[in-house]
């Protein structure tokens, strides 16, 4: 029950932080380099034994609500669904199945900082890359898109570390 409540809190909290804090940050002409999207953290941190169907449903609603607020109907949803579907692939590409316990939430304290950077880094980088390509809907300026995705991934990772220190209690 506590777990359920915590998840709902993360769900709503991430959306609120994304929409009312990160999207309101203003860096002038560099704004496009510092507009990280952190909602995918909710999906990525889910326990390993969560069924894919459940994850997809979460992702759909998470993305859909974010899209409604960000006025990008369908954009975050589609990218988030892709990332959700590919999550196990990313995870097992950096560690074997036995390394990670099934019923533990994934965060920097449970999987370690290096794996956190790798797993969340790859996932969030891909999220941003697909997001930007879909947003622009062409393959023009691909190097700039890569650079933007990289910078945004960095800022998202840093921001998520900060959030995890605040809201996840070390046991």
């Amino acid at each position: 029950m506590i777990f359920e409540f915590r998840n709902i809190a993360w769900f709503i909290g991430l959306i609120l932080v994304q929409i009312f804090f990160i999207d309101f940050l203003d860096f002038g002409i560099y704004s496009s380099y510092f507009s990280p999207i952190i909602i995918c953290f909710f999906i990525l941190k889910m326990k390993l034994d969560t069924t894919v169907i459940n994850l997809l449903i979460y992702a759909f609603f998470l993305g859909f609500i974010t899209d409604i607020f960000r006025n990008t109907l369908g954009l975050n949803t589609s990218v988030l669904l892709i990332i959700t579907f590919l999550k196990p692939t990313f995870l097992y590409s950096i560690s074997s199945k036995e390394d990670i316990e099934k019923d533990v939430e994934l965060n920097m304290f449970t999987i370690g900082l290096v794996r956190y950077l790798l797993f969340f880094g790859i996932s969030i980088f891909l999220y941003h890359l697909i997001f930007f390509i879909m947003e622009q809907f062409s393959f023009n300026n691909l190097p700039i898109l890569f650079f933007r995705a990289f910078i945004n991934t960095m800022s998202a990772l840093v921001f998520l570390i900060f959030l995890q220190y605040l809201f996840i209690f070390k046991k």
């Binding site: 993305g63 859909f64 990008t72 109907l73 369908g74 954009l75 949803t77 589609s78 669904l81 809907f137």
Partner: protein, 276 residues
């Protein structure tokens, strides 16, 4: 059936993912996101247009016949415009672009369905006859030069007596000096590629490579249509004339299309010629 259910069970994650993804993409490309909506439309247009282009490339090959017919008709119209610039009675008649001037020549495009060129008396057959308004003694010009004169007409076909027929005769003029001559094809000495011009005075300065053109005097052809290029000049001392051999502009071995010339003032010319 059971296998299908098993298959769906096996790939249910992926199918569910596809279902939701389809849903979200549907939202993404809905009219609410105008940018993505129009981008989707335009990119889909690229695909459809390339398909259409492919289809066009495929089928345009098969419709070459129709395209050729269209071009032929267009050529007729253009010839009508081009050769009616001057009212051709004599070669040096006043050229007039006035609205008063009368269109003398009309052209009808025809196809040469049979072309003889190896015989003693050669004939062409074209696919237009009385029903198309073709009459006796009308001229037939090709795409480069003249072909012949209508000899016989049936309802749907006409026989043409071409240049390369010993009974063919026409007054022609030397393009540079305006000297008159007679066009004669001698079967024993000529083949289908060349023809003689006789009765040109011996003092006329004719050079190799000069052109002979129609005079327009007999009302069969508009003036100034090329007949051939001079390839040989002989002096006939007895008659004090030049015997000139021309290379025909038209290649009778591969003639395919032509234009029947309709002269509106043909009757007048006939009357004048007869009164004389």
């Amino acid at each position: 059936m059971r296998n299908i259910i098993l298959l769906i069970q096996k790939y249910r994650n992926f199918l569910f993912f596809l279902f939701l993804e389809f849903f979200s993409l549907f939202f993404l490309f809905s009219y609410r996101n105008s940018y993505h909506h129009y981008n989707y439309l335009s990119s889909s247009n690229i695909i459809t247009s390339s398909l259409y282009n492919f289809q066009y490339n495929m089928f345009s090959y098969f419709s070459l016949r129709e395209i050729n017919n269209d071009l032929l008709k267009e050529n007729t119209i253009l010839k009508n415009q081009l050769l009616n610039k001057d009212l051709v009675v004599g070669r040096k008649f006043i050229k007039s672009k006035d609205t008063i001037y009368q269109k003398n020549f009309l052209f009808k495009e025809v196809k040469v369905i049979n072309s003889q060129f190896k015989h003693y008396e050669n004939f062409l057959i074209v696919n237009a006859g009385k029903k198309s308004g073709v009459r006796d003694k009308m001229g037939l010009i090709g795409t480069k030069g003249i072909l012949g004169i209508v000899k016989n007409v049936t309802d749907n076909y006409a026989t043409i007596r071409p240049l390369i027929n010993p009974n063919f005769g026409l007054k022609v003029i030397h393009e540079k000096t305006n000297s008159w001559g007679d066009l004669i094809w001698v079967p024993e000495e000529n083949n289908y590629q060349n023809i003689f011009v006789k009765n040109i005075p011996i003092y006329t300065k004719v050079k190799l490579g000069d052109y002979f053109t129609t005079s327009g005097a007999e009302g069969l052809f508009p003036g100034g249509i090329k007949i051939g290029k001079v390839i040989e000049i002989k002096e006939n001392i007895e008659q004090q004339t030049l015997d000139i051999k021309l290379k025909n502009e038209e290649d009778f071995s591969r003639t395919k299309i032509g234009f029947i010339v309709l002269n509106k003032t043909a009757e007048e010319i006939k009357q004048i010629l007869n009164k004389r």
